[in-house]
Amino acid sequence: MKSFRKQSRKTAFLFGVLTILLVINGFSQEIGDCEQALGRCMLANIRQLPNFVQFYNGVAYCAIGYVFCLKYLDK
């Protein structure tokens, strides 16, 4: 039981690190205002982990914000 808990904690930690790396990797390639805002929103959203329900809800909020930004700024 103890080793299972240890294992799942380890997995959650690794997943968190992986997500941060992926986010930073994507973030560094951005150019436009909306892309930057989406990157920042996703970085802030990582705080929701390991609560995956909240995390995916946060992804939806970030993505809708990105669409709104494109609608407003894109010509």
Binding site: V23, L43, Y61, A63, I64, Y66, V67, Y72
Partner: protein, 317 residues
């Protein structure tokens, strides 16, 4: 000789018919906009960055202004008569006020970062909130105070949810069964007085009409865009150009669609379709806009000066 007598008139007839057809078509195409009101300018502080607009029967204009966290009311002449709201998450406060709809007695306002739709009376006094536990990308108030909400779900795509006045989901309209990548099911929608649903995809060249029972009646493409370019941002793969930005209906049931980056005049071209989905015309807004709105008297509203100005137009055809 006889042949000449018969062939010549026929020849002229063939030459003349296209001319008449063309002039008739040209007359049909002669839709244009006449500006009749402009609210806010670069020289004043009336509007900072307006987002949503709604107009009541008395021609009062309600506008959300996202930069000063407010809801504003203007009279028919464009004079500011009331303003409410400040930054916050409490009753009557906003973090990012977005879209507006109205009934005979109430004004409904969504907020990008608050999971609720706030309700105000027509004097902009806060009355109550309806909890919406999902991000709202578009909404419409139905009879019986139900609210139809378009959202984005990372698990269930292609649905519009109908909430009752206490914030419980009553039913859902499934507009696509396809499993689509992130954002590819994003839509703006309108419901007519019979309950028919019209929707336009933001990232697909697709405009659709559904019966009140949820049966798809038609699906149209206007621009021939097959694929939208995607970008990888912060581990998300997202489309980077909008095909359509907004949809509105006039009182004759015509459908007005604001085009995005793929239009001849990006964010300015408005395609007009009849209720059967046939393209009637295209009008071009004088300035780029994020949305269009048509009131009960068929006046069209759009943006100018990047959100500092709201324009009201009379449509002439």
């Amino acid at each position: 000789m006889l042949l000449r007598k018969r062939v010549f008139p026929l020849f002229w007839l063939i030459m003349i018919i296209p001319f008449f057809l063309y002039s008739e078509r040209k007359e049909d195409n002669d839709w244009h906009l006449e500006e009749i009101l402009s609210i806010g300018s670069l020289e004043d502080d009336t509007l900072f960055q307006w987002v949503g607009v709604a107009v009541d029967r008395e021609q009062n204009i309600y506008v959300t202004d996202t930069l000063d966290y407010s809801l504003k009311k203007f009279d028919a002449k464009g004079k500011l008569t009331k303003k409410t709201g400040r930054k916050g998450q409490g009753p009557g406060e906003f973090l990012a006020p977005r879209y507006i709809d109205h009934t005979e007695i109430s004004i409904y306002v969504s907020d990008q970062y608050n999971p609720k739709i706030q309700v105000f009376d027509k004097n902009l006094n806060y009355t109550h909130s309806v909890s919406i536990p999902m991000p709202v990308s578009d909404f419409s108030v139905l009879p019986e105070e139900e609210i139809a909400v378009a959202t984005l779900s990372t698990t269930k795509s292609g649905r519009i949810y109908i909430f009752n006045s206490t914030g419980k989901i009553q039913r859902e309209i499934r507009y696509t069964n396809e499993k689509l990548p992130l954002l590819m099911d994003m839509v703006n929608f309108e419901l007519d007085s019979q309950g028919s649903l019209y929707l336009v995809y933001n990232y697909q060249d697709r405009i659709e009409k559904f019966s009140p029972e949820g049966k798809k009646l038609w699906s149209k493409k206007l621009l021939g865009v097959k694929k939208v370019q995607k970008e990888k941002i912060a581990s998300l793969v997202v489309p980077s150009k909008l095909i359509y930005k907004d949809i509105a209906l006039d009182n004759s049931g015509n459908i007005f669609i604001l085009g995005g980056s793929f239009s001849k005049n990006p964010s300015r071209d408005v395609y007009i379709l009849n209720p059967e989905g046939d393209l009637l015309n295209t009008i071009t807004l004088p300035d780029t806009s994020h949305c269009i709105y048509i009131d009960a008297q068929d006046y069209l509203y759009s943006r100018a000066n990047e959100g500092v100005t709201l324009k009201k137009f009379k449509m002439k055809y």
